[in-house]
């Protein structure tokens, strides 16, 4: 037995600074050896120097064993006329990659900040209507996250409170589908916050975070409301609401269009009639805006509109 075969710590080869990019093509797996934490930057165009990405400009069948891909295999998989360099580029662009630890950490950090920025822009202190700083939101979310593991155990304690909360934050419509969603919401367990991930978009995570913050209230928060201008032909206002086409027959449609519209509006700033038009400016919970829009479209056939005056009303210094 040759001595080189003896596995000793000194003659082991460990690939400590290698990140592989693999591509399956033609039932074969091809690999290239890259430096860690560089491939994503290259793909995003932040890194332009190929020498900073590739360890060796060569295609392997197995990098750790040092098996270089034979020309025949490459030809077979990629077709003729493909140069080795082009294959390397192809794999680099399209292959599946190992995300380096630093890359992941940085991306996570970025998403975290983005989520915070979005949340901070849309939540206000309910009494003063002032926004919180990202730092405060971050701390509040951290608190939620650390409670997250025990949320199930302690859930019983403030169950009642949370139900009340979600009832407040949910729409206060007396009938129809909204009522059902409300019931669903109450039945659902409290939304929990487990920190950001890189797999979901920042916006949807921000919505999750907001929901969690509002239901747990580590600091007093509420969503900043939208200011809308709702206009409607006066003739339409007195009409009774047509029952929704869906299967919620158990909640009979009552009230006029006007009542229904006003039920969406949390607080009315002005409301007046000018000529043929009824106009109302008021604050609406952002979650209700879509519902309101759908209702207006469905009921009034374009004779009523909702116009956004301000997406998030917060206290202004002057």
């Amino acid at each position: 037995m040759p001595a080189a075969q003896i596995n000793q710590p000194s003659n082991q080869i460990r690939l400590t600074n290698v990140s592989l990019v693999r591509l399956k093509k033609g039932k074969k797996r091809f690999e290239i050896a890259c430096y860690k934490n560089t491939v994503q930057a290259y793909r995003a165009g932040h890194e332009t120097d190929l020498d900073n990405v590739l360890q060796i400009p060569n295609v392997f069948l197995n990098v750790s064993k040092g098996q270089v891909a034979p020309n025949a295999e490459i030809e077979k998989a990629f077709g003729k006329g493909f140069k080795r360099d082009e294959v390397v580029m192809e794999i680099l662009q399209k292959g599946e990659l190992q995300v380096g630890e630093k890359e992941r950490a940085q991306e996570l950090e970025r998403v975290h900040r983005e989520v915070l920025e979005i949340v901070a822009g849309r939540l206000v202190e309910p009494k003063t209507k002032r926004v919180y700083t990202t730092g405060m939101i971050e701390k509040a979310l951290e608190q939620l996250q650390s409670q997250g593991g025990h949320a199930g155990r302690h859930a019983g304690k403030d169950e009642g409170k949370s139900r009340e909360q979600s009832a407040n934050t949910g729409s206060s419509t007396p009938n129809g589908d909204a009522g059902e969603t409300e019931a669903k919401e109450a039945a659902k367990p409290k939304p929990i916050w487990t920190g950001v991930t890189t797999t979901k978009s920042a916006k949807s995570q921000a919505l999750d975070a907001m929901r969690a913050l509002i239901s747990h209230q580590p600091i007093p928060v509420a969503r900043a409301r939208m200011r809308l201008r709702i206009t409607c032909a006066t003739a339409m206002l007195k009409q009774a609401v047509k029952s929704a086409p869906s299967a919620d027959g158990d909640a009979p449609a009552t009230g006029t269009v006007k009542d229904k519209i006003l039920s969406f509006v949390e607080q009315i700033e002005t409301q007046d009639v000018g000529g043929e038009e009824w106009e109302c400016i008021g604050f609406v919970e952002p979650g209700n805006y879509k519902l309101l829009g759908e209702f207006l479209d469905g009921q009034t056939k374009g004779r009523a509109r909702a116009e956004v005056l301000d997406t998030a009303v917060t206290h202004e210094a002057d």
């Binding site: 900073n52 106009e279 829009g293």
Partner: protein, 1114 residues
């Protein structure tokens, strides 16, 4: 020795002539608190042995820890003086009450000094004998000069000359006289400044007279006779205005040892003397009159040893004699040091000591003689020979004025400076000048600051009576020992024949009863609420508990008939005698005293005036009268536990009240920002917040810096994205081709942007008015008479404008100070009428010469401002048929436009414009100075109707914003930095260092001017807010405290660099290489903001050089 009950102090308060209100001022570490200790020791509050070491008035733990004073604190001391009217007369005992205020010396707490000095009548200014005049020494001297306090100079730390510098007596004398010259030079410069002003005023008066006379004469007489008229004129002039400028007497402001207003001392070794004291000693020995000797003891005078006559330097005739001061005074002091701590081994010289004690006729207790510590011996000798308290207190009593005399001289000038002084009631004025303590006299008091005291420390809550606790017993024991020591000391003093006239003055203790001693064994109750007590000086009348009194805020002026808000009336709930750490309840206080007032909580924010009447009341706390430096160190605070926010906010409000130099702001971004005077001050505030006011953990961090984004048309821009359309133009097709919009983004001319920023208030008001009007119009249900209403409105506006006309004029003057411009931008335009605003905007557009045709008629086509409907960006309707409402043309027939099918689409476009301007493409900061032109809009109703409105909204908003973004980036983008206008006063020596600090922080010098007549320069500079963290600290450090900056926000300024610039042309590539060697500063700012907000940072690599990653561990 008799124990003096607090009643004694109270009784003394009634005798205005025997009260002295003094403050102790000096540069940091020149020994203020140690000196105060020595004085407190005379009243038996602390042991004389510990005096100078325990720093009794530094009651805060952090003050003790750091060894510096942070808060001024007051103590009332009792002092009795035996005085002989004539040498043969029986000595008479006179008792004095001395209200002493110890002030901090560190520059961060200079506001405490200014408030303390207003409360007092006299000041004791300390100067370190070695360090001499320092930066804060000048400041405090200026304070005394401006506040017209009578100063007393103490040259402290004399021991350092002996033990540290090892100077011989004659060297020390030269050193001291130089030091004295320095101090007098500082005083002289103040006097000179005032003299020059006076001179100027006098000249102006003469000129005025001449001119008016000349004009009169010119109309009567022909021009060739002017010469004779002028000469005649001079004759006339002398009648009313003195032709010669009258030199004011400035003798009394200087410090001269022969006038006994200079004291030489060593607080640590417990001794002090005035030359007069020595004159008294030597008067007998030399057979001279004391008064004569006093004159010749300091200065170029020599004592002829044979004839025992004093010679001046002229008569010296080559003989080597020492000056009298050296020979008679310093050498003796030196000898004591030599005998006790000197010698070969530092153990002193016993034989010499014996000689000295014998000649001085003092006896040293044998246990001290045997002690191994030479210091103990030293202080024992000095305590018997030249006790510090005697010299100081005698001088204070003799040279500093009582409230009566001080107010008589100070008040007229002080009142003259206060706002609306001509409206002050004559009765009040007289009472204040006379310090009238009569019950019926009007009460006037000035509250300099609010002191926060935990409830358990109030006398009402202290344990009384009952058995002595162990703590109290120990306390009592300590006092007794102190008394014994003092008794011995005074006994030996009295026996001394050589100096009886001086040391006749002997202090007696004023040990108040046990209530006086704070009982500290109470565990710190966590719910112990803080009480705010006003630190006040009563100027006239008598204040008693239960009295109702008006509180005048700092902005009050007696000139106003009905001040708004009306002064509040409060009831005084308690009065306290301030005794350093403890308080003593009082029932009433007469004029001329310093007192703590409870019951002002909530009525006074920081400082204020109390008066028994509102009409004709003086305002002593107006901001103009008191010079406090505006706080400049700015940090954002956040509770560590987010649930503690309420607590923190409450704590911040309390802190703002309790500390005159703190400003608390809540920003639009939700940040809680405090401004403090310096880093040290900030630390103290945080500690206070954590432990007393908020009682929760608080973190401090950098405040978020705002930026703005804009575009310019620059030389080196790359090709427009779509050459067919032109630069900044974007065509978008939305809703499946149902809506086609052509937009154009343009940079606004600089003048227009400036105008819009300045008069943002006007846009805001117009917007608010428009909303209100629309509402109103609807109330009238369409039956409106548009023209009449608009006329009425403009009339209203005109009225407003006429009252504030000068404001507007000033605002348009572009040559104004940057600082003022910033102020204007906040308030400017609030009072402007719509028409004025429009005209101004038109003018601003007119001034742009380059593209006159392009900008023509823009003003009437403005559809909206943005962001938030009021910002400095414009949405302009350039379509053929003017589909949008004009912003200014608000009477437009809403009925027709709002029902048009375009209207909902347009409102969506406008909304997209608002969104875009509120977060720009560079780093999501608001934009400034861009115009979005709506060039054309075409719709296809069929396609539009087939799409649901909800989906449409989203798509229109999204694609419009993307289009605007790409059009924006077609130009050369710029990032605008928030700037501070920075005003720095610095002496010529440190000018270079100040400049280097400003340049390193990317600041720009605007102007530099000599501040006549002082040798200081005033530098105006612009400094980016982003670079201002730690600026104040750095500039103070680099200039050794000789430069003090003031920062005021001054708006935004563009950084003339494209954040996306990379070398492109061949020349540039040659110069900078393909990567761009020099750092792009604009890019750095943009990237830091993007990183903070979690936006993708272009070109950011995770690792710099991949090969260089460590291969060993992960």
């Amino acid at each position: 020795m008799p124990v003096v009950p607090p009643e004694k102090l109270v009784q003394l308060q009634q005798q205005g002539q025997n009260v002295r209100n003094i403050c102790i001022l000096a540069h940091v570490d020149h020994g203020k608190t140690s000196l105060t200790d020595a004085l407190i020791a005379t009243n038996g509050i602390i042991s004389p042995k510990l005096a100078g070491k325990i720093r009794y008035l530094d009651s805060r733990p952090d003050e003790q820890l750091r060894g510096i004073t942070m808060e001024s604190s007051a103590i009332s001391l009792f002092f009795s003086l035996l005085r002989r009217e004539s040498p043969t007369a029986e000595p008479q005992s006179k008792e004095y009450l001395i209200n002493l205020i110890d002030s901090p010396g560190h520059i961060d707490f200079s506001s405490e000094v200014s408030t303390a000095s207003r409360l007092c009548d006299g000041a004791v200014v300390l100067v370190d004998a070695v360090e001499g005049v320092c930066s804060q020494t000048v400041t405090v001297l200026r304070h005394t000069y401006v506040e017209k306090l009578k100063p007393l100079l103490v040259i402290n730390k004399m021991d350092r000359l002996i033990t540290e510098l090892k100077l011989s007596p004659s060297e020390a004398y030269t050193h001291l006289s130089k030091l004295l010259e320095q101090v007098n030079a500082v005083m002289g410069s103040f006097a000179l400044g005032e003299r020059m002003e006076d001179d100027l005023r006098w000249r102006e008066r003469i000129d005025e007279k001449l001119q008016s006379k000349g004009a009169e004469a010119g109309s009567n007489a022909s021009s060739d006779r002017k010469g004779s008229i002028a000469s005649h004129e001079n004759g006339v002039l002398t009648d009313d205005t003195p032709a010669q400028y009258e030199e004011k007497e400035d003798e009394d402001i200087y410090f001269e040892p022969e006038r006994n207003n200079v004291i030489f001392s060593s607080a640590i070794d417990g001794w002090a003397f005035t030359p007069g004291q020595f004159a008294g000693i030597y008067a007998k020995k030399l057979g001279m009159k004391r008064e004569v000797l006093e004159k010749f003891l300091w200065g170029d005078f020599y004592l002829d040893p044979k004839t025992k006559r004093v010679l001046s330097s002229k008569h010296l005739r080559g003989r080597h004699l020492k000056p009298t001061f050296v020979q008679l005074v310093l050498e003796n002091v030196w000898a004591v040091y030599e005998a006790t701590t000197g010698g070969s081994n530092g153990k002193g010289d016993p034989t010499m000591l014996e000689k000295i004690t014998k000649s001085l006729n003092i006896s040293i207790p044998p246990y001290v003689l045997r002690s191994r510590d030479p210091k103990a011996l030293l202080s024992a000798v000095f305590a018997a020979w030249l006790p510090l308290s005697t010299a100081l207190l005698v001088s204070v009593v003799e040279h500093l004025p009582s409230p009566h005399t001080a107010q008589a001289s100070r008040m007229p000038a002080l009142l003259k400076e206060s706002p609306g002084h001509e409206h002050i009631d004559a009765r009040v004025r007289e009472a204040m000048i006379a310090s009238n303590a009569a019950k019926e006299a009007p009460v006037v008091a000035y509250v300099s600051k609010m002191v926060s005291i935990p409830e358990s420390e109030l006398p009402a809550n202290k344990r009384r009576g009952g058995a002595l606790t162990a703590e109290e017993a120990r306390e009592l024991g300590r006092k007794k020992r102190a008394e014994i020591a003092r008794a011995q000391a005074s006994a030996s003093t009295n026996g001394d024949a050589g100096m009886e006239s001086v040391t006749d003055a002997l202090s007696t203790t004023a040990i108040s009863d046990e209530q006086d001693v704070p009982i500290r064994e109470f565990p710190e109750d966590p719910s112990d609420p803080e009480h705010l007590i006003g630190f006040a000086r009563l100027f006239s009348g008598t204040l008693s508990v239960g009295q109702e009194i008006y509180v005048l805020p700092p902005k009050f002026s007696p000139a106003q008939e009905h001040p708004h808000p009306p002064p509040r009336k409060v009831t005084i709930t308690a009065l306290y005698l301030l005794m350093g750490r403890s308080l003593e309840s009082l029932t009433s206080v007469p004029a001329g005293n310093i007192v703590g007032i409870a019951g002002l909580e909530g009525a006074i924010l920081k400082s204020g005036t109390l008066c028994s009447q509102v009409q004709g009341a003086p305002n002593l706390s107006s901001t103009t009268a008191i010079s406090t430096n505006a706080p400049i160190v700015r940090v954002a605070l956040e509770p560590t536990n987010p649930g503690d926010l309420d607590k923190m906010v409450r704590g911040l409000r309390l802190l703002e009240q309790a500390d005159p130099a703190v400003v608390y702001e809540q920003l639009e971004s939700g940040e809680h920002v405090i401004l403090t005077a310096g880093e040290l001050h900030l630390e103290r505030c945080l500690k206070d917040l954590r432990e007393r006011f908020a009682r929760c953990d608080i973190q401090a961090g950098e405040a978020i810096v705002p930026y703005r984004e804009s575009i310019v048309s620059a030389e080196e821009m790359r090709e427009p994205r779509d050459p067919a359309l032109g630069r900044g133009i974007a065509e978008i097709s939305m809703v499946g081709g149902g809506l086609k919009v052509k937009l154009r983004v343009l940079p606004l001319p600089a003048k227009v942007t400036e105008y819009l920023v300045k008069y943002q208030g006007c846009v805001k008001r117009v917007w608010a008015e428009r909303m209100a009007k629309e509402r109103e119009r609807r109330d009238k249900s369409g039956q409106l008479n548009a023209s009449s209403e608009s006329n009425g409105n403009t009339a209203d506006d005109d009225a407003e404008v006429s009252t504030h006309g000068d404001d507007d004029e000033a605002g348009t003057n572009s040559d104004r100070d940057v600082k003022h411009a910033a102020d204007d931008s906040i308030e400017g335009g609030q009072t402007m009428s719509v028409d004025d605003f429009k005209n101004g905007l038109l003018e601003a557009f007119e001034e742009e010469k380059a593209d006159k045709a392009l900008w023509k008629g823009f003003v009437s086509k403005i559809t909206a401002f943005g962001p938030r409907q009021v910002g400095p960006n414009l949405l302009i309707d350039k379509t053929e048929d003017r589909v949008c409402d004009s912003f200014f043309h608000n009477q437009s027939n809403d009925a027709t436009t709002s029902t048009s099918p375009l209207h909902p689409l347009l409102s969506k476009l406008t909304h997209a414009f608002q969104l875009f301007t509120s977060s720009g493409p560079l780093c999501a900061e608001p934009t400034q100075g861009i115009a979005v032109l709506l060039e054309s809009i075409t719709t296809d109703q069929a396609i539009l109707c087939s799409h649901s409105a909800g989906a449409q909204t989203g798509e229109i908003l999204r694609s419009t914003r993307t289009a605007l973004k790409s059009a924006f980036l077609d130009w050369s983008p710029r990032i605008l930095l928030a700037m501070y206008a920075c005003e720095i006063q610095a002496s010529a020596e440190v000018l270079g260092r100040v400049y280097s600090v400003i340049t390193r922080r990317r600041g720009r010098i605007i102007s530099e001017s000599l501040l006549e007549p002082s040798p200081n320069f005033t530098i105006l500079a612009l400094l980016p807010v982003a670079e201002s963290f730690g600026f104040a600290d750095e500039i103070r450090k680099r200039s050794a405290g000789a430069a003090s900056p003031q920062l005021v926000f001054a708006g935004f300024e563009a950084l003339e660099e494209d954040p996306f610039w990379v070398p492109r042309t061949e020349e540039e590539l040659e110069d900078f290489g393909s990567l761009g060697d020099k750092e792009n500063v604009a890019r750095r700012y943009v990237d830091s903001v993007r990183e903070r907000k979690g936006l993708v940072v272009q070109g950011k690599r995770v690792v710099g050089d991949a090969e260089k990653q460590s291969t060993l561990k992960r």
